[in-house]
């Protein structure tokens, strides 16, 4: 059972910094080495990557056109 082993807990801890590209080179190699061997963690990393893109898309709302007009009307007229 991979998920109760320490390497997987450690890999879980490294997931966010890994995807944010803020791990040191050594830590990056360590994470990648584990991911190469562990499908259990690999699936969860891939899910996290997809989730981030999905969240970003899901919550992006276009600005209402009326608001855009209101903002333009706030400009200070030239004298």
């Amino acid at each position: 059972m991979g998920h109760i082993d320490d390497p997987c807990s450690h890999c879980e801890e490294m997931m966010q910094p890994y995807l944010d590209h803020i791990l040191s080179e050594e830590e990056m190699r360590e994470a990648e080495h584990h991911l190469d061997e562990c499908e259990w963690c690999r699936k969860r990393y891939r899910f996290e990557e997809s989730l981030r893109v999905y969240v970003r898309t899901a919550v992006s709302e276009p600005m209402p056109a009326a608001l855009k007009e209101k903002l333009a009307a706030l400009r200070i007229p030239l004298n």
Binding site: Q16, R46, F47, E48, S50, Y54, V55, V59, S60, L71
Partner: protein, 194 residues
């Protein structure tokens, strides 16, 4: 010796700089709104906040330093206004026990699906409403950094300046905030499944 610019030239230069500033700021309004929409508690609040931000920005355009990040400057105004509007009176998060581990959401989805095969498809089980609603339940301190970094695409450094907090705090809030968001999403999936 160069002649001092005439008053007319000075006024014309000033007007040109101001118009340029206003146009650049307006060109960023879609991006500002996208972030404001989730820093504020509702669509109406977000619209008001963006209007107040632009009104203030147009009044104090001289305090913007050309060549620096205008989007971050606008968001700094916006987050300050948002705080001034008293939203900090809302619930403050307890310090412990809010978030599950990072794999928690995937594991909950896997549990309710009886074995997942395609990780890219798994996220599609979450509806847009689930995500918007889960994000809105993340406490403000954590939500602010998620919205700025993960949705607004600001760097840690920009987020730290906008929120006036240390960069280490941005990182720790982001880390915890994402976990809180995933816990909320897991709960919505379990509720829908029950």
């Amino acid at each position: 010796m160069a002649e001092a610019p005439s008053e007319a030239t000075r006024i014309a230069t000033n007007a040109r700089d101001r118009v340029r500033f206003e146009e650049e700021a307006l060109a960023l309004s879609d991006q500002v709104y996208r972030v404001a929409r989730h820093l504020a508690n509702s669509r109406e609040d977000a619209e008001e906040l963006v209007q107040e931000t632009y009104a203030r920005a147009f009044r104090s355009w001289r305090s913007y330093q050309p060549g620096t990040n205008l989007r971050a400057w606008l968001l700094r105004i916006l987050t300050n206004l948002n705080i001034d509007r008293g939203r900090r009176q809302q619930r403050t998060p307890p310090t412990q026990g809010l978030e599950a581990n990072d794999y928690y959401l995937y594991d909950r989805l896997a549990e309710t699906d009886g074995g997942l095969t395609d990780e890219d498809r798994v996220v599609e089980r979450l509806s847009q409403d689930d995500i918007v609603s889960a994000l809105s339940t993340v406490p403000h301190d954590f939500r602010d950094v998620i919205v700025l970094v993960d949705i607004g695409d600001f760097s840690y450094q920009d987020a730290a300046q906008i929120l006036d907090i240390p960069i280490g705090t941005v990182m720790s809030r982001l880390h915890r905030g994402r976990r809180i968001l995933k816990r909320e999403l897991a709960e919505s999936v379990v509720e829908e499944g029950s």
